[in-house]
Amino acid sequence: MTKPEKLIVDGKRLDGRGPLDLRPIKFKAGVLKRADGSCYLEFGGNKVMAAVYGPREVHPRHLQNSSRAIVRYRYNMAAFSVEDRKRPGPDRRSIEISKVSREALECVVLEALYPRSAIDIFVEILQADAGTRAAGINAASVALADAGIPMKCLVSACAVGKVDDTLVLDLNKDEDNYGQADLPIAVTQFGDVSLCQMDGHLTEEEFGQAVDMAIVGCKKLHEMQKQALVEKYGEMVSPQAEEAEAQKADGGERSE
């Protein structure tokens, strides 16, 4: 693909969005049967599957922490996720993304509740179209909640970039490749930033604006994440559940 002459024409971007619009987004929680929690996400052209296992025993044993759970995050791009086949396996880029994404989520997980255990998060990028780390974090956050892991709140992430000297929310592939800057940000619902990376150039003033734009974008994503979780059970909830749950405190039922 060659560089388009202009990335913004008459205030509209190449895919028809305004500068503050996100791409079409679709979350689906609880799609994998074997995982404790999972989420499939379509984020524009990105297709991402996140799975969460745990809390479970830590292997290898020396990694375990006797006072809290450890969180492990694996970001992986499928060989077929990009136009030219990606050489499979971890590389420098995916190791870095795994680390920063883990840190973005680790800060909301209530790790102290599960000493000596591990919470494993696997994020598989099935189709990549710019902003995969943000998409991965969004999906992983929903998958963690779906797995019943106690957290302070959900984490949402999106990127802001600069193309043709304009700040735009949620870069697509062309804007990412030929733009002037890319700033992926993850925030908790309380507005705490848990991931912030940048490449390219922004002035101090632009940076401030960009962060504010990203936070607005994350708010929208947060609503969609909540929606996805509520929809999984949705209309199926009943008052009877309440009575039975009250039994929980009582011991097991015995026979004979």
Binding site: G148, T188, M236, S238, P239, A241, E243, A246
Partner: protein, 223 residues
């Protein structure tokens, strides 16, 4: 009354004193820490919709012996943490040199959680009535958060199953269920329990399960 589904981070109340399980307090407000259903009857609690079994003292569990050490049996209790059954907690006197004779790897037991320490070392005991080795019958696994629905209100669901099918059932808090009785009836009981697990969040469950049981029993008699 519609039950409210919450996700982690939802604000549930302004009074930190009401914060119960599944919630946390920040800046004097109560927030949900879990994805689940809210219970506001006495304190604010969030009942999770999923999650692993975390052992708590006095829970009755069904465990599987996975290893034998010089003074302990190591028991898988369907949880991130393994249970330890010390030889002194076995109902009979045990010869430490020959522990395999009493209980060997692969056997299933009903045990009680005697103690859980802050590092999640789980001690089990078998020195109590009802606690024993399971020699016969079948054991199935379901999600432990669905166990209260299998038991039902004051045990209504489980006693209906036992009475209508004439099957012995033991429900462990860790999501394992032991059944013994006529093979065909045990098959039906297992099908019914999986149905309860699938439909755990629907209303009028005991009644719909009763209808289902009657229909299936009718079919069983006719064949």
């Amino acid at each position: 009354m519609e039950r409210e589904i919450v996700v982690p981070g939802d604000m549930l109340g302004e009074d930190p004193k009401l914060s119960g399980s599944g919630t946390y307090v920040q800046d004097g407000k109560v927030y949900s820490a879990n994805y689940g259903l809210v219970d506001r009857r006495s304190s604010i609690k969030v009942i999770p919709l999923s999650g692993r079994y975390i052992p708590a003292r006095s829970d009755l569990v069904i465990g599987k012996v996975v290893d034998v050490t010089f003074s302990n049996w190591i028991v898988d209790i369907n949880s991130p943490y393994e249970g330890l059954l010390h030889l002194s907690e076995f109902p009979e006197r045990v010869d430490p040199a020959n522990m395999n004779k009493y209980l060997h790897a692969g056997e299933l037991i009903i045990a009680r959680v005697a103690d859980v320490d802050p590092t999640m070392k789980v001690e089990l005991t078998m020195r109590d009535e009802h606690l024993r080795i399971l020699k016969q019958g079948r054991v199935i696994d379901i999600s432990h958060v669905k166990i209260p629905r299998v038991i039902g209100r004051n045990g209504s669901m489980i006693s209906m199953l036992k009475k209508d099918l004439n099957v012995s059932i033991f429900v462990g808090q860790n999501g394992r269920i032991w059944l013994k009785g006529d093979e065909k009836k045990v098959d039906l009981a297992i099908r019914t329990i999986f149905k309860i697990e699938r439909e755990a969040h629907t209303s009028g469950l005991t009644d719909s399960i009763k209808d289902y049981l009657n229909k299936e029993l009718e079919q069983l008699r006719n064949t």
